[in-house]
Symmetry: D2
Amino acid sequence: MSASLSRNRVGVWLIGARGSVATTVVAGCAAVAAGLHPPTGMVTETPQFADCGLPPLGSLVFGGHDVVDCQLPKRAEQLAAGGVLPHGLPAAVAGELVAADAEIRPGGPAPADPRDPDEVIADFAADIMGFVRRNGLARAVVVNVSSTEPTATGDALPPSSLYAAAALRAGCPYVNFTPSTGLHHPALAGTAASSGLPYAGRDGKTGQTLLRSVLGPMFAQRALAVRAWSGTNLLGGGDGAALADPAAAAAKNAGKERVLADTLGGTPQGEVHIDDVPALGDWKTAWDHVAFDGFLGTRMVLQTIWQGCDSALAAPLVLDLARLTLRAHEAGHTGPLTDLAFYFKDPLGDAPSSLGDQYTALTRFAERLREPGPAGGPTEVPGC
Amino acid sequence: MSASLSRNRVGVWLIGARGSVATTVVAGCAAVAAGLHPPTGMVTETPQFADCGLPPLGSLVFGGHDVVDCQLPKRAEQLAAGGVLPHGLPAAVAGELVAADAEIRPGGPAPADPRDPDEVIADFAADIMGFVRRNGLARAVVVNVSSTEPTATGDALPPSSLYAAAALRAGCPYVNFTPSTGLHHPALAGTAASSGLPYAGRDGKTGQTLLRSVLGPMFAQRALAVRAWSGTNLLGGGDGAALADPAAAAAKNAGKERVLADTLGGTPQGEVHIDDVPALGDWKTAWDHVAFDGFLGTRMVLQTIWQGCDSALAAPLVLDLARLTLRAHEAGHTGPLTDLAFYFKDPLGDAPSSLGDQYTALTRFAERLREPGPAGGPTEVPGC
Amino acid sequence: MSASLSRNRVGVWLIGARGSVATTVVAGCAAVAAGLHPPTGMVTETPQFADCGLPPLGSLVFGGHDVVDCQLPKRAEQLAAGGVLPHGLPAAVAGELVAADAEIRPGGPAPADPRDPDEVIADFAADIMGFVRRNGLARAVVVNVSSTEPTATGDALPPSSLYAAAALRAGCPYVNFTPSTGLHHPALAGTAASSGLPYAGRDGKTGQTLLRSVLGPMFAQRALAVRAWSGTNLLGGGDGAALADPAAAAAKNAGKERVLADTLGGTPQGEVHIDDVPALGDWKTAWDHVAFDGFLGTRMVLQTIWQGCDSALAAPLVLDLARLTLRAHEAGHTGPLTDLAFYFKDPLGDAPSSLGDQYTALTRFAERLREPGPAGGPTEVPGC
Amino acid sequence: MSASLSRNRVGVWLIGARGSVATTVVAGCAAVAAGLHPPTGMVTETPQFADCGLPPLGSLVFGGHDVVDCQLPKRAEQLAAGGVLPHGLPAAVAGELVAADAEIRPGGPAPADPRDPDEVIADFAADIMGFVRRNGLARAVVVNVSSTEPTATGDALPPSSLYAAAALRAGCPYVNFTPSTGLHHPALAGTAASSGLPYAGRDGKTGQTLLRSVLGPMFAQRALAVRAWSGTNLLGGGDGAALADPAAAAAKNAGKERVLADTLGGTPQGEVHIDDVPALGDWKTAWDHVAFDGFLGTRMVLQTIWQGCDSALAAPLVLDLARLTLRAHEAGHTGPLTDLAFYFKDPLGDAPSSLGDQYTALTRFAERLREPGPAGGPTEVPGC
């Protein structure tokens, strides 16, 4: 591969690279790049993001870690059978799926893994750097799209944090699309700060919380008093099973509640349930019930029912985040990318909580990426 | 009444002064001013609107036109029986209800009214000016809260336009909280422009359209493709009966559809129904069904069910609008108050269509009202 | 084909033979007969209907009339693309689709058709008798599954009645799965009575009305006072477009309202809307809102949202009805089959209105079909 | 009081006599008996139950046990403030509330109660017998309407069983309207059998389970395959708080699940949540999501939202049960009244599980109560 070509190719290293989200990311990127489907759901393909220097979809090269063996072409067929991917798509992008699968390395650590954490990090980082080198990539971003892990207890780094540390060690920006710990571990705070790398997170805002981030501000702006906000999520697939673990659900719910507390200025009554319903496959139904008071204490109710496919909701956002973070890295941005709060339930830093304000911040960030200047030119980052 | 006191009292002249909304406005204003209830639903009582010079609730004096005879204290009891007003409230604010009712004048014109339109306007204007004089008011605002009238056909001024013209002739700012024509008639364009008065409208955004004004931008910002947006409204009360008239419903629906077209950049498939269901009384249920496409054409659905009391939703907004428009008049603002788009389905002028952006515009307007300067000092307007 | 085999084969002649329902009937019958899918939704395949002498699925031969040219294999592919049929099914049953399509004859009459009604009936009857003869069928049933036609006005026989008359003339029992007139025309009453043939109808109960037929009795049995029952149906496909015609919708709604009136003992407030939403394809969403009073007048609400595929709901019922009516014919039953009320919105004769009672009647009918005796033995009916 | 009068008066002894349900029972009985409200929700006031010898509403005398001190007139005012009772009703039936409150005795046992269980039972029985004697009642029925107690563990009789044993010892029939143990304790099986008294239970079927008992049979009769049935209940009031205890919720959910298992012939996937939402007061919202397969495996969904007031739903059923059980006692019925399954989530004995079949059984029971004969004449039962 020639040097000029290599400068134009960039990597996306997915933690959980054989999951539903990752499979949809790889297949969908190929489909949209080939013009087989419009880029529905990809914010970075709207006019506001033109000329920002984002890497084209066709320039993205995929790889990643996973602990499961089922190869991407087969996973894609499973998703097509479940209605998540269009029929015929797995065959149409078979080449890209095979290529990405060839760049997947075993994840971990397994329960009886003899390595100490630093060795695991070093091995993961070596995997990532090998991917970059082998493919002659200008840079790569590491994105966590694996199943939610239980809330960490104790000092030990959970797996998501080992992967995050490996990203930094490999000189790569990092995006945490899950509620897992990732870079949010105290032991990694110093490393993150001194890395000079940009990072973003956490917990992709795809359905119920997306709604809450527009409905919460509506109640607040109209001075309506929300008394209780209750919700139930039904989902099958891997995420349903993972979140049937109360500890994982707790991690997930913390993000959901933060949105209400931030937009309403207080936490209303009400609980959030996450039920594993395997019959729903990758489809998710979220029911929300909001009891609020109007003028003179009149009691009113808003209910919402959201029926979506989590993988299809998440995948275009993952592509957006990968592109934005790769470009931010190129443009010299470092530290938490708080302007990406639009994408997250529990965003880093001091970001606005209403979706509208987050969108404004995002489009301003796009404008800054467009500007020439000290942080504008493409730079080669050694090691990544 | 002493001159210093009279300067502090301002008038709110309600077209449809014995309807559910007007009754709730008068009773609720008294209740909140007396500290019997918190100002839930009143945006002008939130901290962002402090120190803007808005007239205090206790300074508002009510009067108006109506074609029905049922007096306000009795209407209030009916609303309390239907759960719209708290039990006990009509008795607690009986004095204020009686006082307002004494300032209600017969509306019209009746079908066989012998007067020509200009005489009707003159008589209405005389009613309003009498109200201002009798009560020693510094100024007054005319607010249309009557039942929706059928879409006007032909050149004749419909009743809502006669009232609007009377407001201008009386030197009063005007707010159209309904989808009726009001000042939107070509024959009134010149008068409105040359009046030097501020005005606002139209069609208060209380329920389904309020929701649409936050959900529409959400879909647009997330680049999700809305295929169809269908809705059904069930409501009883006077509004339900009025809107069972297809021509009135058409007027109402035009505003609802504008919100979707403006926020989505195109009109999706789907209809809006408004059903008269007397059993629901003043309570309203709105069901919305949004079919949208996600990544790779995946079909998803959002449904919302809004169960509210229209009078309780409208009344605090009417108080907000009356106060803001009175203050705008005092501060010398003229012409369409486009910064009040937050309150309307079909706002005047070139206003943003997302609720968040409208809220930003509203709070900036509040800041301008707070500023001293040429348009800041209290001014006596001759004749009103 | 040998005589013994021919005695075992029976015909199903579908009016609207290339529509979504008919295509699903033909493809689904082949798939279930071949063991590719379980007989979900087919009541006649439950244990209560064993040993009733119903014709096996594998013995059904399909043909019919239609005015469209798109052949069944292609229609099946379209339905598979829309998620109505499983992917791969059209290919798996291609032979049966081709065979059925070869037995489809042009429907009518076209607007400028020069034939008088009796000629049209004679031609349709000849088509049906040719089908029976050509395939050596023991008998055949005619089932109307075409789009709803506008409510008939005037004395002229609408197309659905021409087909119904043709069925009788061909000596075939008749089932009307639509709200169209069919045999319900006064001019056909004598013919139907003297034909000695069984018939059933009308308007298959697949979704919203199915629900109403169990919820209505629940309210009645619990002595709860239903004040208003409102409903909105969103559907695309051919049915959505047909029902966008108010006259067709009126025909449809009459059946829906009958269920409520019969089960509640009176017609509550509320309307039913049927909206054409092409984006939904063959999928249907029905929202119902029931306002009811409990003890001491307490106001309560039940809402239901039914999201189904009309073709998939209708097809197994059509197969049930074809088999039951063919067997009833064989067993010598004549006149209206009131025991099949379970299947219809607007059933013939004096049938119970609650689904539970209708189910009891249906299972007793199955028992009678099982009994030997005068009306038990297989009989050859001349001409069919 | 004369002997002839005393024969006509009968007692209803409520366990939980100051709860929302009991208060609504006492106030509502008085209101309906006085003609202030129609008997909406009372099945025993429909024509099918005329001439069955049921005690008239005006002949019912109320008393009971409770551990709380708040008196019935005050409880009724609280319920009126929350919209459960009509405004003005507590004043209108103040006499009846005061009279019933005077017959309320302290419940228990308190945690440190020094009495052994048999002493507690004896004391409770003495309370009941005193009530009967003092009021010259022909008989009395004991009805448990107290908060759900946690699932019993161990051999000790839980409080609900102590009350049930006291009912039998006092010679009174017993109805368990809650999911608590009551007579369902192994230690009481012999006593119940040898008592010669009728009894009924358990767990009143008021909302979500009522719906399930008509929807479950619908799916079964239509041969539709229910894959998952999920539900969330939001409720405030005392019941919400009680059921926030997972052990109490477990007791409640067992009954709910039994309905599905019995009507569907198997337990589908899905969970049931019961959330305490104090803001809802005595109002309850139940959302159910049913994922089912139709023909050829097509995936469909039914959702229901039930918004009701539990006390208003329960009270007329409690009055029905009291009257039916008193009449059954009078007519000489003994043992479990399986024909009352219509009223219960988890009915005694081998009862049908569909509401329609249960209603048929109930009306047949009413016919038997109407018949003269050995079990027909009014009999004086010694001691009660």
